[in-house]
Symmetry: C2
Subunit: 504 residues, 2 copies
């Protein structure tokens, strides 16, 4: 299946249909994503089989049979022997750390669902992710105006609230799963969409397993999102391109500041970026450099063990060559013992260490050992919520995976996730394929060795080729009174139908 469109401007529905099988090209405009376009419901994809990397072939047969059986039951609920039955509602929720464009995926889901009124009833959003389902705290998205839904494309954060909450195994947390079924049944929900990273795909996969085990038919489709870019199978994860654009832009700007001051003042600037285990975001900082000698001069990747002596020698080398040194450091950089250089000791609800503060540590090291004046920055949330400098390519992809998720679901595909497949680097072309959740859940895709330079302090040309197209295009939000004009949805609660409370 090819979900994309070329950047040709679509002038009619007929033309749109003709273009339906053309791929995305960077910088192009997604015709279907244009909220101003009035079109009849789009044709649902049928009979697709081009799963990448033979992923589907590796899925065990009973699992497929169960999935298909359940999917058919869901679809059969829609049309049975020519009689149109009440269509099932859908549940959509956002999970984990948010991105600048996760609402772009929400927009893709909601706009596409609205185009398929014969297949999907109302879309109920979970307030704060899966917690909304557990506590029967559902949001009726049907009352939102089309203009508000369209505005999600330019609004960061998570329009319905997110959460860090992992469902345990079905055996150990049966009550939770039974509760989910109870809520889904009460609200006639036949489609489950969960928008998040590895943990969220795990949740989606588990709910799919649950639907088999408890014989409640629900089509489960994960929607990829993570600024960390560490989801497997998909070529990149929506949210990452915008973070990459933000860090590269910010570092290029800060480096100009440093250059101006290094003669008499600060000589070293260190920027810390998020990315717990995978160095994608740190690597993206290297895009700031255009010519030999441009900043950043050193990357500290989580994939490369930190060696103080080699690092300080590298800093001295940069100072000697350029009279300055710009460093991008991952929050997750580790020593040779595998321990994070800086960990606050706190853990989040997933059991991950809460990190932050490596930049001051690195800075202290340099100023103590080399005696020069240093500055450091930790943008933290700023980098993953910077919708004002989002990548147009990233936004298109975020929208596309949201739309594809609905199309997959309508086609009865379950336990899958729309994934981005790269067709070419230059010009950048991509389309959407189907990835089985069994291969996505709980896996982290690290920076491959051939993306890391020989000395471990930079990236290779291969990495640059990979990263470069992901930041292309600007997708400025509208501004009002000098500030981005972000939408706030009404988020009207769906009346509860259950009397039993459920605590999380």
């Amino acid at each position: 299946m090819v979900c994309g469109y070329d950047k040709v401007k679509v002038r009619s529905d007929r033309e749109a249909r003709r273009l339906e099988h053309v791929c995305f090209e960077s910088g192009g405009r997604d015709a279907r994503s244009d909220p101003n376009r009035t079109s009849r419901p789009l044709r649902a994809p049928r009979g697709r089989s081009n799963v990448s990397k033979g992923a589907l072939r590796r899925v065990c047969v009973p699992e497929i049979l169960i999935s298909l059986m359940l999917a058919r039951e869901a679809v059969d609920g829609i049309v049975r022997q020519g009689v149109v039955m009440a269509v099932k509602n859908a549940f959509y929720a956002q999970s984990g750390g948010v991105t600048a464009v996760i609402n772009g995926s929400a927009c893709g889901v909601l706009q596409t669902a609205r185009q398929h009124v014969n297949e999907i009833g109302k879309v109920y959003a979970g307030r704060n992710g899966i917690i909304g389902a557990l506590t029967e705290d559902l949001i009726d998205t049907s009352v939102e105006f089309d203009t508000a839904i369209a505005a999600l494309k330019h609004t960061p954060g998570a329009a319905f609230g997110s959460c860090r909450y992992r469902l345990g195994s079905i055996h150990e947390n049966r009550a939770q799963y039974e509760r989910l079924i109870e809520v889904f049944r009460a609200h006639d929900i036949g489609f489950f969409f969960y928008n998040g990273g590895g943990d969220s795909q795990d949740t989606t996969y588990k709910i799919n397993q649950l639907s088999a085990e408890l014989a409640y038919p629900i089509v489960c489709v994960g929607i990829p999102k993570t600024m960390d870019n560490d989801l497997p199978i998909t070529d990149c994860s929506p949210g990452f391109g915008s973070v990459a654009k933000y860090v590269a832009t910010s570092l290029r700007e800060a480096a100009l500041d440093l250059t101006a001051m290094s003669r008499t003042s600060t000589k070293v600037f260190t920027m810390e970026v998020m990315g717990r285990h995978a160095g994608w975001t740190t690597a993206a900082c290297a895009l700031a450099a255009e010519h030999e000698g441009d900043a950043p001069h050193i990357l500290l990747l989580p994939e490369v063990a930190f060696n103080e002596e080699r690092f300080l020698a590298k800093v001295e080398d940069a100072l000697e060559r350029y009279d300055q040194c710009v460093i991008a450091v991952s929050e997750g950089v580790k020593g040779s013992d595998g321990a994070f250089l800086s960990a606050s000791g706190l853990k989040d609800s997933f059991g991950h260490s809460q990190l932050g503060g490596v930049a001051p540590l690195i800075t202290h090291l340099i100023s103590t050992k080399l005696g020069c004046k240093c500055h450091w920055a930790v943008p933290d949330y700023l980098l993953r919520s910077a919708r004002h400098i989002a990548s147009e390519t990233d936004l298109q992809q975020a929208y596309a995976v949201g739309r594809a998720a609905v199309e997959f679901a309508i086609a009865g595909r379950t336990a899958v996730m729309p994934a981005i497949r790269r067709l070419s680097d230059t010009p950048y072309r991509w389309d959407i394929i189907e990835a089985p959740l069994s291969e996505v859940a709980n896996q982290e895709k690290l920076l491959p060795p051939d993306f890391i330079s020989g000395d471990g302090f930079g990236i290779t040309e291969a990495a640059r080729r990979y990263l470069a197209p992901l930041i292309v295009g600007e997708a400025y939000p509208p501004f009002k009174n000098g500030l981005p004009d972000y939408v706030k949805l009404q988020n009207v609660a769906v009346p509860k139908r259950l009397t039993r409370q459920f605590s999380v």
Copy 2:
């Protein structure tokens, strides 16, 4: 004198002249700043007397006489008894911490000087501020293409390098001043423009004094620049509007991130902003809030002594009301004893403490005392170099003060600085007036008491009225391959004419 233009599009030189006495209005386009406009040299302002706040009246008479005498000598060098003499060259340099739009002022200086070839010869830029003059390291700006000069308007950093270097008193550092005269004489420099904050205006003022004392005629005009917004007389300082836009935008975005996560994860987000003594930048964070309850919920201003008990009570109150708390803290916040909450102990060459790291400290306090999960950000250089989200209003003002400086100099005004005068809040209208350097140098304009809310944790409506227009308008730089396309000048050195070296 009124230097501005209305936002009416200028279609001809005649129309431009007609508009010459109309004021700036926010969001308008500066016709004279359009590098594509071919116009004859603009009329130099004459016989102005509308100095604000009676500032000029307070200047002592002998000082004025000396200034006028020297200015006349400089101008006399240009035209004497109808015979056109070789025009004097100009020196321009950038000083102190840079901003997103200081190069906009450089553009104003250079484009205006190029329009006045009969009055100003070449413009030599100091490489790294006044150090370039001391070491005879001058840059010949005349070799730069018009397109490169125009591109300065969208390039952050300091195109010619900046410095932190304060000339001491003339009595104690006579050798430095004599050296300056030596370099100026060797390169036939009759105009001195220095673009910076309070320290830089002090340098400009001292060079003016020197020119009187050593009887070397040089017209000295300061050009205001500081992200801290702490220069007196001028209604605002170029550089501040863009920082204000950056911090308000970033905080609004990060707050959406926090809102998404606060149900199950982070509840407090603290962003540290620059601003050593004056709370303007911290105050600007408040612009992010549109409605009651919007972030930020607490400002920690350097003008208000930090009180741990009252602060924690305020955080608890926000958590209770909104289930989250967003804090903007100035790097310069002090305890009741007047000491900075966090100081690294290092001092820069001006003797200022090098700050940074208050946000982690505040965060530690909250997580220890209130036990909730917190995140913090320190954008540091990112905030003052973020040209990608610069304020169009700020950029217009940066350009206008650069242009006015040249116009002042041609009119023979010395020891002055172009200052921005606010004519009205709504619609925002402003013009440029002349401020005597004697009243600008070494003074810091703090947030006035009536701008700070009763409890000290916020700003008043008066502050909001003042701040709001300064961030209006977007002035996006051009992008290439997904990143801002910033210009790098050739910065060709002027051949040295002196044999003596001078060390700084």
